[in-house]
């Protein structure tokens, strides 16, 4: 997943947490980067018409940005569920965060052929807990 998609996913989650535009501070916390880096990237995403940014309020995804964020979150859910169900990793959240930048969505699609993912994915993703609300640590396939 590239950096732009990671930002779009973070904006999507921040909008859900804040029930409104994603603030720079929340995005900086979620992405573990500086507010200046967030502002720079949000500007680039705005130029690409993936995000609308309102001063003092925050960033809101456009329809196209929302679709990409949705796909990025789905890829992330596949990684988390694969780590839990197949590799039996207990600390799947930490490891998924570390791996998501290296796992492309086409690779995730292949991994998706061997995991049992709920039809409503990724709507069942708990933004505050950073994992699918239907997925528990120790929820192994075997």
């Amino acid at each position: 997943m590239n950096t732009a998609d990671q930002y779009l996913k973070a904006i999507y989650l921040a909008q859900r947490i804040e029930e409104g535009p994603a603030s720079t501070g929340t995005l900086a916390d979620l992405l573990e980067v500086s507010p200046a880096s967030v502002n720079e990237m949000v500007g680039k995403l705005e130029d690409r018409e993936l995000v609308e940014h309102e001063k003092y309020k925050g960033a809101t995804l456009t329809d196209e940005g929302l679709e990409r964020a949705h796909n990025a979150l789905q890829t992330y859910c596949i990684i988390e569920r694969f780590l839990t169900n197949v590799l039996e990793v207990d600390e799947f959240r930490e490891e998924a965060r570390a791996l998501e930048s290296v796992i492309d969505d086409t690779v995730a699609e292949r991994l998706d052929t061997i995991i049992d993912r709920p039809a409503q994915c990724p709507d069942c993703f708990d933004a505050e807990q950073d994992h699918c609300e239907l997925l528990e640590s120790g929820d192994h396939a075997k």
Binding site: L31, L87, E95, L99, V102, T106, L111, T113
Partner: protein, 164 residues
Amino acid sequence: MSLGQRVSNDRQLTRLLQIGVVLEEVVESRAAHHLETLPPDERDAVDGEVETLLVDAAEESADHRERLEALIDDLEAETVSYEEINTLVDAQYGPPEDTDGVLYDQLANEETAYKFYDDLIAAIDASETEFAVDRGRLLDTLTTIREEEKEGAEEVTEIMERRA
């Protein structure tokens, strides 16, 4: 969240190599399933060329898996067995409708594997971490496998073009 594509420690490297093993096992298992589950009339139509392709793909994946497992051994970790992945493939498997579907799936396998190894090599190159496994051997192994995936994708494409 980790921004930027790099592998920064042994655990992360191990996980990625384990994912590589699973991808190879999925290829191996799906190739076997394709041959077994095509309807009889389609199975008759699977000419020698496609059958050889699937058998070779399964053998090549098994070989890649062994090379990745040797690296994972050096990192003192384990891999998921082929039998376990085969069971998971079996649970979710939906057979392609015809031989063209088999070829498309095979092409997706090869291209996905190529993309995975390409990203992994780039992420290792971008890191200055000293891993528990020799970096030269690691990159040599992954580069060789990546090239074989590229050749595999080209082979499938050639067969598809001949059949078109």
